[in-house]
């Protein structure tokens, strides 16, 4: 057996984005010993890239806002598939979590009265997103990081966890390797919190980084936990599409929140033609009304450019199909005709910079070309809405890795708030769980050995598969089989192709040593990405309707029957099993909120 180091903590948090940092801070506050592990350096997680803002019904920018309306918007945005309890807790607790960040040093943009400013975003009834220009995530992660390093948390950077360890039915820790040396390390812990983020690397065009290989979801799955809603992948409508180098890089929804409009090649504001019935009552139906809204008229309804992401992404795709796309197959996003140049540079500095530097486009005088990009996964680890515990004892999850809050489609800004609200809860309950256990768990050498062998396999044998080629092929399979618009035949073919890829992955071969070897790192992570890809395709094949982020051209409508169930995936007897589980019933007082009269 390969050597390994051992580190011991009461609670191990895997992932140091917003969710992981917030969980670690809370667990530490509970007085237990906490370790925080991440694949990259501290402060480089996806959270750092978030742009537009964090949603919280502070009611500073518009005093008509409150948690009830935030709850309603979240449920409607999620096409009612959300876990109602999570949506409720999230809407209720987000304001306090945002205010707390101020106490830790965050500096959000201000209103003239000195309180936190809030911006409009898709699907949010009122201006609700606290923000810092278009670099909110940076502010958030740095604040949590600078607060967190003084809370006695032990941080383990550039360490990839490859397997969870169990003692019987319970979590006993995790095993990983240092990316620098390739040496293994076992974390013995009473509780583990997974905050590993999403799965965007399953698609070629994505706003996500190399880290997003679905590690947390796959680790939990292999440890026996349930995953839910895996068919729901969010394609953000506005990614950069030209030049090729920048394909997929995100253009924040804040552009539209601040007034940007979508146009087709004929210069038409096509979104007026795609207003779903559910949102008709609160969406402007003329350009005149939309213009009044932009000027701050509280009686005007919101422009259709700010419909939820699933709607906008599909609309762009339809325009392109109808031959009205932009030169590189997308739509035009135009903010220059809506706002003065200096306001654009001030509110959207990083968009200005990004287009200028990477795309040779000056957004204060030219339109941006945008198209859908794989952005976020609504599905993930199934958790208890209050404690964030998964279906495996001692295993918790929060942030993008967990599921439930967003249902079939996430509203912009609801992720950063999700990280704070449920990161805190996960940390708190993981610490409580750990405190209730007097003795530390036992590490099973057999499990350690097996994990090591699997991770080292790419160095041995005479396989011929290159990890980078496998990754590219996987992305092609997913884009063709389980992309923005799906159908039965493509999904079936996709699942077949995935099986072949899994077989090819057994022959993956890496060159060089274990010393900081990205080829090896991909080879290891690919195993997880294949598992989550299979889960996405399997759930998508079996949900015979369209809802939120899941669009079936062979089943274009939403079906009431399907509104009642979540897809649940689990590993049993070496097979991926799918079950459709009934959604928990919502109490009547919350149901009543969903039909709040306009302007309530």
């Amino acid at each position: 057996m390969d050597n390994y180091e051992v580190c011991e903590h009461d609670v191990i948090v895997i992932g140091a984005g917003g969710a992981g940092l917030r969980a670690a801070i809370e667990a530490s506050k509970e007085g237990v010993s906490v370790g925080l592990v991440c694949k990259s350096l501290l402060g480089k997680a996806h959270t750092v890239m978030a742009e537009g803002g964090v949603a919280a019904a502070l009611a500073y920018a518009d005093d008509r806002d409150n948690w009830q309306i935030h709850f309603r918007d979240t449920m409607r945005g999620g096409k009612m598939l959300n876990n109602w309890r999570m949506a409720q807790l999230h809407a209720q607790e987000a304001p306090d979590r945002v205010k707390e960040l101020e106490e830790w040093g965050a500096l959000f943009d201000r209103l003239p009265d000195g309180r936190i400013s809030q911006r409009n975003f898709g699907g949010h009834r009122y201006p609700r997103l606290a923000h810092v220009g278009d670099r909110t995530g940076l502010e958030m992660i740095r604040t949590l990081q600078n607060h967190g390093i003084h809370q006695g948390i032990q941080v383990y950077m550039e360490c990839t966890i490859v397997e969870l360890l169990k003692e019987g039915d319970r979590i006993a820790g995790a095993i990983g390797y240092w990316r620098e040396t390739g040496v293994f390390v076992v974390f013995r812990a009473k509780a583990v919190v997974l905050c590993t983020g999403g799965i965007g690397k399953a698609f070629r065009v994505t706003s996500n980084s190399w880290e997003y290989t679905g590690d947390g979801q796959a680790l939990a799955y292999r440890a026996g936990a349930d995953l839910i809603d895996m068919e729901f992948v969010q394609f953000h409508p506005t990614g950069m599409i030209w030049p090729p180098s920048v394909q997929g890089i995100l253009v924040t929804e804040g552009v539209r929140g601040d007034g940007g409009i979508l146009q087709n090649s004929k210069g038409e504001r096509f979104m007026f033609n795609y207003i779903p019935e559910m949102f008709a009552a609160e969406t402007a139906d003329t350009e005149e009304e939309a213009a009044r809204w932009l000027k701050g008229d509280k009686h005007a309804r919101r422009p259709p450019d700010l419909l939820t992401r699933d709607v906008v992404a599909r609309a762009i795709r339809s325009e392109v199909r109808a031959g009205r796309g932009s030169p590189h197959g997308g739509a035009f996003l135009n903010v220059y005709s809506q706002l003065p140049a200096e306001v654009i540079r001030k509110r959207l500095p990083s968009m200005y910079h990004q287009f200028k530097k990477l795309g040779d486009v000056d957004i204060t005088s030219q339109p941006m070309e945008v198209g859908p990009t794989a952005h976020y996964v609504m599905g993930g680890i199934r958790v208890n809405p209050d404690t964030q515990e998964s279906t495996v004892q001692g295993l918790f999850a929060a942030g993008e890795a967990a599921a439930g809050l967003h249902g079939a489609n996430r509203l912009g800004g609801n992720s950063l708030s999700d990280l704070l609200v449920f990161g805190k809860r996960a940390g708190e309950y993981a610490a409580k769980y750990a405190k209730d256990r007097s003795s530390g768990p036992r590490i099973d050498e057999g499990q350690v050995r097996e994990a090591q062998q699997t991770a080292l396999a790419p160095f041995e044998g005479n396989g011929t598969e290159n990890p980078y080629t496998l990754l590219r092929d996987l992305q092609t399979v997913m884009e063709e089989g389980a992309g923005i618009v799906r159908n039965k035949a493509d999904l079936e073919q996709g699942l077949e192709n995935l099986k072949k890829l899994v077989a090819r992955h057994r022959d993956v071969k890496v060159e060089g040593s274990r010393h900081f070897n990205p080829g090896w790192h991909y080879a290891v992570d690919l195993r997880n990405l294949m598992t989550v890809s299979q889960a996405v395709a399997l759930c998508a094949l079996n949900r015979e309707e369209s809802r939120g982020g899941h669009t079936r051209e062979d089943h274009p409508d939403s079906v009431t029957k399907w509104e009642q169930v979540n897809s649940v995936v689990r590993l049993r007897n070496g097979e991926m099993q799918l079950e459709h589980a009934r959604r928990p019933d919502m109490p009547d007082e919350l149901k009543a909120l969903l039909t709040l009269p306009e302007g309530a």
Binding site: G114, I149, V246
Partner: protein
């Protein structure tokens, strides 16, 4: 389009050399794309860091043709054509492998800075601040911790004066010092422990900062002034002199 030639440093602390690679060029390509191409086709074990590929995370720092840069924001067409592009790791930090260096020293410094200590909230539970006042610090909060300024600063790079926390942490200290809500005093540490006096205002850090933070003018000089004001340090007078002569300082140091 024609292929580009790159010379990429390959090696470890024990030794290494520039290695030649050839990559096809496409429109809008950045240096990080070239590195990714090399990984996928020629050298799967070529070590480099990256995450966002959009200048937001500060992971992909390296020296491109000798200049500390973010690889993801350096367009190939901004570099002289017809000459190989030289990509090397940041020189200031101990090498791990290829383009990856050990930047942990920065994290250690950060831990030594006394945390933010806010004043109490207003009676209505809010904090009220004017946009104008927060903007000054928001400039510093743009820092993506790429550590390119740390790589560049001659105090750290050539003179290896680790008593100096470096420009990145001068920024962080200035942020705290100017934060409208903070109540902590860190001036003694800024002087003694973090060595603000070592900076001789060459502004080389400011020049490489991908976030265009005016590190020297807006952060370090005000810190120096505050320290001078607090301690009536005779050195203060000296650096005022130095500051007057920054033009020749530059040519002297670099």
């Amino acid at each position: 389009m024609a292929d580009a030639r790159l010379k990429v440093f390959r090696g470890t602390i024990e030794g290494g050399a520039l290695k030649d690679y050839q990559v096809p060029v496409f429109e809008g390509m950045v240096v990080l794309d070239a590195i990714h191409h090399i990984q996928a086709h020629d050298a799967p074990d070529l070590a480099c860091r990256w995450n966002c590929k959009a200048g937001k995370c500060g992971s992909c720092s390296a020296e491109v043709n000798g200049k500390p840069s973010l690889m993801c924001m350096t367009r190939m067409d901004s570099l002289p054509a017809g000459r190989p592009i030289v990509v090397e790791p940041m020189r200031r930090f101990p090498l791990i492998r290829d383009l990856v260096t050990d930047v942990s020293w920065n994290y250690e410094i950060n831990k030594r800075i006394k945390p933010f200590k806010p004043k109490p909230r207003e009676a209505d539970g809010t904090y009220r601040m004017q946009q104008m006042d927060v903007e000054r610090i928001q400039e510093f909060h743009k820092c993506i911790e790429c550590f390119l300024c740390q790589d560049t600063c001659h105090v750290l790079r050539d003179h290896r004066r680790y008593e100096f926390a470096g420009p990145r942490f001068m920024i962080r200290l200035a942020t705290l010092a100017m934060h409208p809500l903070d109540t902590e005093n860190r001036l003694r540490e800024i002087k003694d422990q973090f060595g603000v006096g070592y900076c001789n205002i060459t502004k080389c850090c400011t020049e490489v900062c991908p976030e265009d933070i005016h590190i020297t003018d807006n952060a370090i000089i005000p810190l120096k002034e505050r320290v001078a004001g607090e301690f009536y340090d005779p050195l203060a007078w000296l650096w005022r002199l130095v500051r007057g002569k920054k033009a020749d300082q530059r040519s002297e140091v670099h």
